[in-house]
Symmetry: C2
Subunit: 140 residues, 2 copies
């Protein structure tokens, strides 16, 4: 599930991909930043290596998803946000009022998953579930 240390390099090589400094930088950025947009990742990468191009970031993010090391979610209107699979799966709660995003454990939505499976035969992709609403802070 998680990506222990540097195994990702073997994963890449095994699939015929190459290990490049750009890919390392992008992976690092996705791991460090959480809910990072491509632009966020780009900015972070460029702090360490100003020559890297935005399109390389896009291509690498796509690659990371393809090999299952990261995934993206649409948290509202703008750009999507990426997170690495080092961390356990989680559900996003997005507050419409203060725009903050909190992560909650997947078991909180277990009953939803079961209900959809039983009543609709639908297999929920919990890792991509985003719930919009108003957070505790903003309701009080």
């Amino acid at each position: 599930m998680a990506s222990p240390g540097e195994d990702w390099q073997d994963e890449l090589r095994a699939r015929g991909y190459r290990i490049t400094p750009q890919r390392q930088l992008v992976l690092d950025a996705v791991r460090v930043l959480e809910h990072a947009t491509p632009e966020d990742v780009y900015a972070h990468v460029r702090q360490r290596s100003p020559g890297v191009n935005l399109s390389t970031v896009y291509r690498t993010l796509e690659l990371l998803e393809e090999i299952g090391m990261a995934s993206h979610t649409h948290l509202g209107h703008g750009a999507p946000t990426y997170h690495s699979h080092d961390k356990p799966e989680h559900v996003h709660l997005v507050c419409r009022s203060c725009k903050t995003v909190q992560e909650v454990a997947p078991d909180l939505v277990g009953s939803l998953v079961d209900t959809l499976k039983d009543r609709k035969g639908f297999e929920t992709d919990v890792g991509h579930l985003t719930v919009f609403g108003i957070c505790e802070e903003c309701t009080s």
Copy 2:
């Protein structure tokens, strides 16, 4: 909740907005088409009135949301889809495999709403909830 007949005109006027043929066309399109993207709405409107501009569609969709007659959801990567509030609230299930969208009754997610409220103090916006996964057809 629903919009009985032509009351929306009073609603607009009451807020100082004007009734225009373009607005009627866009509202009709949103009501007829379901899960319509701005482009879908545009195409539908232009069948009846070729002169209407895309930016008018965008401006009108924004207006309809503002006065609570429609809302939009992000069903995946591309453009958002709009639906009118004539129909009861519903949750969207989007199949990653065949891309179909089904609507299910909000009570199916009642337990989720309760859990998030009790455990996180989070008020879920059920009307904007979209669940990604694999539908019954595609799992078999």
